[in-house]
């Protein structure tokens, strides 16, 4: 058995969980919800074990190529989902996050999983912290997207099975706040690392500019929740737009444009 088998098992567990939640929406059986939650918790444990195994094999947090960042983003999404599920019992409300998780895993499993050599400038705890905060922040922004989309659904196509608009709004605000807090720490740590490695703390590379944009966008959102006009629908729309900025920053720049954060 190698570490990838753990990842494949985790993917199976997540698929079962998504199926369980979908069936629960139709059949309305409480045990299906519990089973789905158990599958996600099990999948997360398997994925965590896989991550720990790969970390131990590499000697560093392996997040330096597309396979490992997809893998790590997927792990962060599962952690974020569990946070909301354990805290608020959101159940199928977080389905989008789990769909995205499966999509990332499916994409990761088709790629070369070998552990790349570490570039010396990445060999620092600052880099590991930068990545951890960054992907946890992205995961909360993904959750905010999911909750924003559900808010719009509940508003225009009301459904008894979804949480109330007030709850969705509060959860969305929490996801944005936590994502923003983590992403702020990501930028602070990244700035310190860049200064130590290259002698400046902000790079005008397109990835640097867009990371700052992600931060600025969500900083604006943390303020927008206090303005009546932007509460509710406006906030939900901003959550959806914000995740577009996140996706472009993570995947668009790395895959489509030339940057100092290439994805291959």
């Amino acid at each position: 058995m190698n570490n990838l088998h753990l990842l494949q098992l985790a993917a199976v567990a997540y698929s079962l969980a998504v199926t369980g939640y979908l069936l629960q929406l139709v059949l309305k059986k409480p045990w299906l919800k519990k089973l789905a939650f158990g599958c996600i918790a099990g999948g997360f444990l398997l994925q965590t074990a896989c991550l720990a195994w790969r970390w131990q094999l590499a000697g560093f947090l392996p997040v330096t190529n597309l396979f490992s960042t997809l893998f790590f983003f997927s792990w962060a999404l599962a952690a974020c989902y569990l946070y909301f599920e354990i805290r608020y019992r959101i159940a199928a409300s977080g389905l989008f996050v789990m769909f995205l998780n499966l999509l990332l895993l499916a994409s990761a499993l088709r790629r070369d999983a070998s552990l790349p050599m570490l570039i010396p400038s990445l060999d620092t705890p600052f880099f590991s912290l930068h990545i951890v905060f960054s992907f946890l922040g992205y995961a909360f922004f993904a959750m905010a997207f999911s909750l924003g989309a559900l808010y719009l659904l509940q508003r225009y196509l009301p459904n008894q099975q979804l949480p109330t608009l007030a709850t969705l709004r509060k959860l969305n605000e929490e996801a944005i706040f936590l994502g923003f807090a983590l992403f702020t720490l990501c930028l602070v740590v990244g700035g310190i690392w860049a200064y130590w490695a290259w002698g400046y703390y902000f790079s005008w590379n397109i990835k640097g500019i867009w990371s700052f944009l992600v931060w600025l966008f969500y900083a604006g959102m943390c303020h927008a929740k206090f303005i009546r006009r932007w509460q509710g629908t406006g906030y939900a729309l901003l959550s959806i737009a914000g995740f577009g900025v996140v996706l472009f920053t993570y995947l668009g720049i790395g895959l489509l444009l030339e940057s100092n954060h290439p994805l291959e």
């Binding site: 608020y88 019992r89 959101i90 050599m117 570039i119 010396p120 400038s121 060999d123 620092t124 600052f126 949480p163 007030a166 709850t167 509060k170 959860l171 929490e174 706040f177 936590l178 807090a181 702020t184 720490l185 602070v188 700035g191 310190i192 690392w193 200064y195 130590w196 490695a197 290259w198 002698g199 400046y200 703390y201 902000f202 790079s203 005008w204 590379n205 397109i206 500019i209 867009w210 700052f212 944009l213 600025l216 966008f217 900083a219 604006g220 303020h223 927008a224 206090f226 303005i227 932007w230 900025v245 444009l257 030339e258």
Partner: protein, 349 residues
């Protein structure tokens, strides 16, 4: 009236408008970056102020968005500072928001630090420092960098695992700073930061046979007494030089291409000559007429350590700002969970 102006300056809506304007400007403008590498590619190699004055000013149609973004960021910074001051004035009733407002102060300090560093700082990217030699710092007259020793740690076929330079910073003849520069372990001193970039060998002269005798190294500063008592001084060496039609000599690159020496010759009978000798060509006729014979053998190579030397007077302030941002975020998280626990937890079945 003053109250209205103050309220406008602290306004939440103003913050959102300015953040939105900056976001849109940077979003649109940044898409020009990959396609205009000649303009934007060197932004990290120069302090932003220098980049504006040396590069951006020559391409206003491609860089105007950065001027506007700088303006909106300045206004955003002022707005954030006003919000912080407003909170400070009402701290008794709003102390629970300490985390959020420490974050505001941190952002303001980082913005001030960046503006200060951009205006008063400078950057020298990848300075080639010969081991043991003095390298003048172009932006800091009278200061030199000396790499006392250099040791690369190599790893199989991949990139070097580390590049360790023992570096001294000199002001005139006086050593003002000494330390080690390694990957992720820069040498730092009052805003100055020295980081490693690469290393290699560069040609500094040529080994030659003079008058058929022992091989001699022709390197700048060297004085050679020939067998007949005449003197040859090596004034300059260019690894890759070009001769213009008017006879002027130009430096082309640090790579070995068309090497040339500037030499000075003094014969025993008082005759003298000064000029350029291109290694790939014949010896200048005047020198040959004096009976000088030179036969180039191989280039003399010297190790160098390429270092980035940046000066950012705002770096310490930025560090303080980052620290405040971190404390602010942690306090805000603490206060968020406390609030949710006591008052504000959503009621979910």
């Amino acid at each position: 009236m003053l109250n209205r102006i103050w309220n406008f300056c602290c306004s939440l809506k103003l913050a959102i408008y300015l953040a939105s304007a900056t976001t849109l400007l940077l979003m649109g403008g940044s898409l020009l970056v990959p396609a205009n590498w000649r303009i934007f590619g060197g932004m990290d190699q120069l302090a932003l102020g220098d980049w504006f004055s040396q590069v951006a000013v020559h391409a206003p149609q491609k860089t105007w968005w950065l001027y506007l973004a700088a303006l909106t960021m300045l206004l955003f910074g002022i707005n954030t500072l006003c919000c912080f001051l407003d909170w400070l004035g009402n701290i008794r009733s709003r102390w629970r928001k300490s985390g959020e407002y420490l974050l505001h102060l941190g952002v303001v300090l980082v913005l001030i630090a960046y503006a200060w560093g951009s205006a008063a700082g400078w950057r020298n990217n990848g300075l080639r420092c010969q081991i043991g030699g003095l390298t003048p710092l172009p932006d800091w007259p009278g200061h030199y960098l000396r790499v006392d020793s250099f040791k690369p740690l190599l790893s199989g076929n991949g990139p070097p695992r580390d590049m360790i330079s023992q570096v001294s910073l000199l002001q005139g003849d006086e050593v003002v700073l000494r330390g080690t520069v390694q990957i992720n372990q820069p040498l730092r001193h009052k805003g100055l930061v020295v980081t490693p970039v690469s290393f290699g060998q560069q040609p500094v002269g040529f080994k030659v046979l003079i008058q058929g005798s022992q091989p001699t190294e022709l390197i700048p500063g060297r004085q050679i007494i020939l067998t007949d008592g005449s003197r040859l001084d090596v004034l300059r060496f260019l690894p890759d030089a070009r001769r213009q039609r008017n006879g002027e000599i130009f430096y082309r690159s640090d790579q070995l291409g068309n090497p040339a020496f500037e030499l000075s010759y003094q014969s025993t009978n008082g005759q003298s000559w000064r000029g350029w000798y291109f290694v790939r060509e014949r010896l200048p006729a005047d020198l040959a007429a004096q009976g000088v014979k030179l036969r180039p053998l191989s280039p003399v190579l010297q190790n160098y350590s390429a270092l980035t030397v940046n000066y950012d007077p705002g770096a310490s302030l930025a560090a303080v700002g980052s620290g405040l941002m971190t404390i602010g975020v942690l306090l805000a998280l603490f206060s968020f969970y406390r609030k949710r626990k006591t008052l504000d937890r959503p009621d979910i079945a």
